[in-house]
């Protein structure tokens, strides 16, 4: 096993630095050389490391851990009398180091991040070709790769937090990439603030972890200093562990757009489409899924928290799927679909099947990236149009896009043997197995979640084929691509989408090869990528390469004090689950076909229930009216009254009193000797009287 992780981090960082400092001066070729070179090499190193790990699996977490430098050193744990640093004895200094952990989980994540990332870099070379902010775009994309690689390969919670915040920054920069658009800037701000709520939660979780485990390292290092996961449950009570897990999950909910912190992701579609594909679908939003898989030991010791993860995941999966059914903007459909699929992953993890969560993360990265890139190709061909009402019939003009998009849609709908089928199936059967195995109230909850999973699978197939038929089916409803010249300067002005000559459907052309080749590669992966997952369905027992690869992280005692027990479903249970999910998927497709086979027709619908879902349950509006506006109003009022009238006025009042007192005292200074003499006499008398009385 060779640990090459540092190169996977360093190369994109180098690319970012070069592009950030000199990008403006570089030619397009130069920019592409730097951006594609660094991200391609990063993928190469990730792949080499991955392959070397296939050959020689790590024997312990410490064997893949590389520590580079001491970040901070603060005090000694447990030796200063009275310092409540914790109960650990001994005099180990409290040290946080920068270290990279290379184990099956991080190796898998690095493969996905750099692999999909590299493909999307290639695609972007075509997609962003005309954008004046070309260099800026690739600088940010490289920065994102660095941050994401840091997130998944940090060996302690502090640098996890650093990566966590830096991917948030990259996301912020890319959502607001077209920074002259008011809507993009607002979306970026919203994404940042909501993500910071998650960072806050993660910080408190880290504080609690330090308080109870006196370290922030995941695993024991080679010097034998114990890591968090190796000393569970430590001196933490069960309630504390649940709190830690829930705080971690709140951070995941912010990053992975789960209830109640999902609101930023649909707005994040303001960014360029490759960004939506890479960051807001395939990689960054899965950070929460990664974190729970990474912290599986904490969750195993706090099953209540894990149950809540499953419930929130299920609720989000269904909630977002219902919204996706009624969206008109093709990217927003995909955004809500992403939220829904992330909910699926959390459901799988909630059923203790972390491997299934990571598996679905992997296949989802393929087909959702493909869907977004396909949508991008459509948007690109239409000159920026994203409204489904202006599309239709594009299957004739965008052949590659259509076929690859169709494969992805079938994959996400769970149609065998495409990738989504295997991973979704594994989550559903794990839920059902968990339900049958535990029984009681918890069992009932898992039955319910399984039902939600099935229902969501049906809804997913429905809205995906509504989308496919809306874009590619029927006949063309639009007026041809929007022709808009770019401003001479960087960025686009709002409202520049003038209708300056639209040439109808014959003005629409397929994207260049640099964009379609990544589509084809991703289509192949979406089709066959699921084969690494599961063959248990037909009784070929345990041919699960991915699960087997990840297994040490969940069951090796060096990684896991309490090996994760996944309730394996019996063949019968699996077939029931599979049959139902495929059946519902087909039903969804048929439903969409029945309604939209002649193309998408938009009708104004005044039904209040429809309006409620169409307006995304009015969540944004309610939040602004109930929380944001009063907060700002109170702040302005406090600023005026407390700061102005009370404090400023108060100090002016005091000054006025002193001024008046001084004025009055001035009158005592008469300048007449007799007055002073009288005062002295009075004083002396008073002193004498005082001492006389006191005795």
């Amino acid at each position: 096993m060779t640990n090459l992780t540092v190169w996977v981090l360093a190369l994109p960082l180098l690319g970012f630095i070069i592009l950030g400092l000199a990008g403006r001066a570089l030619t397009r070729t130069g920019i592409l050389t730097v951006a594609l070179g660094t991200s391609g090499l990063a993928f190469l190193f990730a792949a080499l490391g991955f392959l070397s790990m296939l050959g020689a699996p790590p024997t312990s977490p410490a064997s893949g851990d590389q520590v580079f430098y001491t970040w901070v050193n603060s005090g000694i744990i447990g030796t200063i009398p009275g310092v409540p640093a914790g109960a650990a004895s001994g005099g180990a200094p409290f040290t946080i180091s920068f270290g990279l952990l290379f184990d099956p989980l991080s190796a898998t994540m690095l493969m996905i991040v750099t692999g999909v990332g590299f493909l999307i870099h290639i695609y972007s070379a075509g997609y962003m070709e005309d954008d004046p902010g070309f260099w800026r775009f690739f600088a940010y994309m490289n920065f994102f790769l660095f941050a994401m690689a840091l997130l998944v390969s940090a060996d302690n919670f502090l640098f996890l937090l650093v990566g966590w915040a830096l991917v948030g920054l990259a996301s912020f920069l890319l959502i607001g990439f077209w920074y002259q658009r008011r809507s993009a800037v607002a979306a970026a701000q919203k994404a940042l603030v909501i993500n910071i709520i998650g960072d806050f939660s993660l910080m408190i979780a880290i504080f609690l972890i330090f308080k109870h485990f006196q370290t922030l390292n995941y695993f024991s290092d080679s010097n034998g200093n114990p890591g968090v996961f190796n000393q569970l449950p430590g001196n933490a009570t069960h309630a504390t562990l649940i709190i830690i897990c829930l705080l971690l999950f709140l951070a995941c909910a912010a990053k992975s757009a789960q209830l109640p912190l999902y609101m930023w992701l649909p707005d994040a579609m303001e960014g360029p489409t490759p960004v939506s594909a890479l960051i807001h679908a395939a990689t960054m939003v899965t950070a929460g899924v990664y974190l729970i898989a990474r912290a599986n030991q904490l969750f195993e010791f706090a099953p209540t928290a894990l149950l809540i993860v499953a419930i929130i995941g299920g609720a989000t999966a269904l909630f977002a799927a219902t919204i996706a059914v009624f969206q008109l903007d093709i990217k927003r459909v995909l955004a809500y679909s992403t939220i829904s699929q992330l909910g699926y992953m959390f459901m799988g993890e909630g059923a203790h099947d972390y491997g299934a969560g990571i598996f679905h993360l992997t296949t989802h990265a393929y087909f959702k990236a493909l869907l977004f890139l396909g949508a991008g190709a459509v948007i690109h061909a239409l000159g920026g149009e994203q409204d489904m009402r202006e599309m239709g019939g594009l299957r004739h003009r965008l052949k590659i896009t259509f076929w690859t998009f169709l494969i992805a849609a079938l994959a996400i709908s769970g149609i065998p043997p495409l990738s989504g089928f295997w991973s979704k199936d594994e989550i559903l059967s794990s839920l059902l197995a968990q339900a049958t195995a535990v029984g009681g109230k918890t069992g009932a909850i898992f039955y319910l979640l399984w039902g939600i999973g099935l229902l969501t699978a049906g809804l997913t197939a429905f809205y995906m084929f509504r989308l496919v038929l809306g874009i590619f089916g029927g006949s063309y409803r639009g007026r041809g691509p929007v022709q808009h010249g770019h401003d001479d300067e960087e960025g686009e002005e709002e409202g520049l989408h003038g209708a300056q000559g639209r040439g109808g459907i014959y003005a629409i052309f397929e994207a260049p090869a640099i964009m379609t080749v990544p589509l084809i590669i991703l289509a192949v992966l979406s089709a066959i990528g699921g084969l690494v997952g599961s063959f248990s369905l037909i009784g070929v027992t345990r041919w699960h390469p991915l699960a087997k690869f990840l297994d040490p992280v969940f069951s090796n005692p060096l990684w896991a004090t309490m090996p994760v027990a996944v309730h394996a479903a019996s063949l019968k249970v699996q077939w029931i689950s599979t049959g139902l999910s495929v059946g519902l998927g087909l039903l969804g497709i048929l439903g969409a076909w029945a309604i939209y086979r002649n193309g998408f027709q938009y009708k104004e619908n005044k039904n209040p229930l429809y309006q409620l879902v169409f307006h995304k349950y009015y969540v944004d509006e309610i939040l602004i009216a109930v929380l944001i506006d009063p907060l700002l109003w109170l702040g302005r009022t406090a600023s005026r009254l407390l700061e102005g009238n009370v404090l400023d006025g108060g100090s002016q009042g005091v000054a006025w009193v002193f001024g008046r007192t001084g004025g009055m005292l001035r009158r005592l200074q008469t300048g007449y000797m007799r007055n002073y003499a009288l005062a002295i006499l009075l004083g002396v008398v008073l002193i004498i009287v005082y001492y006389a009385v006191r005795g």
Binding site: Y69, I76, P81, G82, V193, I196, G635
Partner: protein
């Protein structure tokens, strides 16, 4: 021994006098002379820091598991008899340890940066530069004094240049702001003066036959009655709380910060505000440990209220400098919260946060000054979409904004993380409330940045007029070079804060051990 500390303290004063002696019309000579003195001072401080780090590297290696052995100032010490009569001994004594060294380094660095950023000031250049250097002398003196009488002199010395810098070179309402500032500060200082005199008196009574002294090491050896401690703590705290400032003694700050010229604000916010927090750490806590222990909940409550309340106010400010002023109070609340957590992480985080706050706030005020110099306005609503015209300036501002909102990986995060961790370890609720500020902090800083630099261009107001005339210039090279040291530190300390905690660790541990041995367990 060579009086190194005196040199560091008084070199700026000499520089100020030299500047005053130069011919009035030779503006550039005056400017460069002032800069040269500030720069020389910085170099000497850095040399001292290097030497200091070598002396303590052996100390740090033995610290693991060591009991309370080392003396309070494990450090460079200078002392000379000053006012001596039988039974009355006021010595001139300067000391430096890890904590004060970092703050002195910060002060001298900020002075260099701020003087360099003041080259565009055209009126009364001589006086301006002399006052800037005098301000540096006062601040450094405060950090180095180990005799309370000397300390008080430097403390008051800071006030004079600060008053004139705000009152003479400020913008509108500068006289009002300057007088308010002086009145607030003087009331606190006078209470502290009474406290200092009384402290010497009580200490003299403690040890029969000893003379009256105000030397800090001597004073530290005695244990005062807890009730006396309480009154003295409050008297000292009055001065320090105004300077930090703690809520509700902050009313002078938004006025003074917003009207003063940007480099002066950067000095006040970056360096001078640290004297208050330093006073708490160096005098209040060690001299009155029982009182500090008893009053910690009060201080922490005020700190938490300040952190959240001022972040909230920053969210709705319309004036950019006032916004930064409130943000500054909010961040200094974290300094206080970490300090009064009374554990190593908290205090180290607190000192680290002082340094980082100086760097970041200094940079932000200077950048806003650059922008104000171009546009003549600092109303947030006058701006919009400026990044297109001034991309480099926007990038530099973005880095400072990210640092200020505590982005992990940049400098402020390190201090905030440790300080809040310390606060959390000593009190869960204060820790959580203090940490909660990251959300509004990100919100107001990003609102500031996006409002100024991004979004559609403004169509009316002074900035729009300038844009139409196409006269808004991007950052000049000299501006960039001025701010560059701060940018480098923002990245470097974020990358590895270890050298700073290494420097301060022995001093922090000693302070803490002294404190913990005094309070009941």
């Amino acid at each position: 021994m060579f009086p190194l500390l005196s040199l560091i303290t008084f070199l700026p004063l000499i520089g100020g006098i030299v500047a005053l002696l130069l011919p009035r019309e030779r503006l550039n000579v005056i400017r460069w002379t002032a800069l040269a003195f500030a720069w020389a001072d910085l170099m000497i401080v850095l040399g001292l820091a290097l030497a200091y780090s070598q002396t303590i590297s052996s100390f740090n290696s033995t610290i693991v598991g060591a009991g309370p052995t080392a003396t309070y100032f494990a450090t460079v010490h200078e002392q000379a008899a000053w006012i001596v009569t039988p039974g009355f001994n006021l010595s001139y004594s300067l000391d430096v340890d890890g904590i004060s060294l970092l703050l002195v380094a910060l002060t001298s660095l900020l002075t260099v940066v701020c003087i360099a950023a003041s080259f565009h000031i055209e009126q009364k250049v001589k006086n301006y530069m002399a006052f800037m250097l005098l301000l540096e002398c006062g601040i450094i003196g405060v950090f180095l004094s180990s005799n309370l009488f000397l300390f008080y002199i430097f403390w008051e010395l800071m006030l004079i240049p600060a008053y004139f810098l705000v009152g003479s070179w400020g913008g509108e309402r500068r006289i009002y702001a300057a007088i308010k500032f002086v009145l607030y500060t003087s009331v606190g200082s006078l209470l502290m003066l009474a406290g200092i005199i009384a402290l010497g008196y009580y200490h003299q009574r403690l040890v029969p036959g000893s003379g009256y002294t105000l030397d800090l090491p001597t004073l530290l050896s005695g244990k005062l009655d807890p009730t006396v401690q309480m009154w003295l703590f409050l008297a000292f705290a009055a001065a320090f709380a105004v300077k930090v400032p703690l809520i509700p003694f902050h009313s002078w700050l938004p006025d003074a910060y917003s009207t003063a010229p940007a480099p002066v604000t950067a000095m006040l916010a970056g360096a001078m505000s640290k004297t208050g927090a330093y006073g708490f750490l160096r005098f209040c806590i060690p001299l009155f440990p029982n009182a500090a222990h008893t009053l910690a909940p009060l201080i922490n409550t005020l700190a938490v209220i300040g952190i959240l309340y001022c972040a909230w106010l920053a969210l709705v400010q319309t004036d950019i400098k006032r916004l930064l002023g409130y943000s500054s109070i909010s961040h200094l609340g974290i300094v206080m919260l970490g300090m009064f957590a009374f554990n190593v992480q908290g205090i180290e985080g607190s000192v680290l946060q002082m340094v980082n706050h100086g760097i970041t706030t200094g940079a932000l005020f200077l950048i806003v000054g650059f922008i104000e110099a171009r546009t003549g306005t600092r109303r947030l609503s006058d701006f919009g979409g400026l990044a297109r015209r001034v991309p480099v300036l926007a990038t530099v501002m973005f880095i400072a904004v990210l640092s200020s909102l505590g982005l992990p990986g940049l400098n402020s995060f390190a201090g905030e993380f440790l300080a809040l961790l310390g606060a959390f370890l000593s009190s869960t609720i204060f820790g959580i409330l203090g940490t909660a500020v990251v959300v509004p902090a990100a919100w107001y800083m990003i609102r500031l940045f996006l409002g100024m630099m991004e979004g559609p261009r403004v169509t009316e107001g002074p900035v729009a007029v300038l844009e139409r005339k196409n006269v808004l210039s991007d950052m000049y090279l000299d501006e960039f070079l001025t701010i560059l040291p701060l940018l480098i530190l923002i990245f470097y300390i974020g990358f590895q804060p270890y050298p700073l905690t290494f420097l301060m660790e022995p001093s922090v541990v000693n302070t803490l051990q002294h404190f913990l041995s005094a309070i009941p367990h």
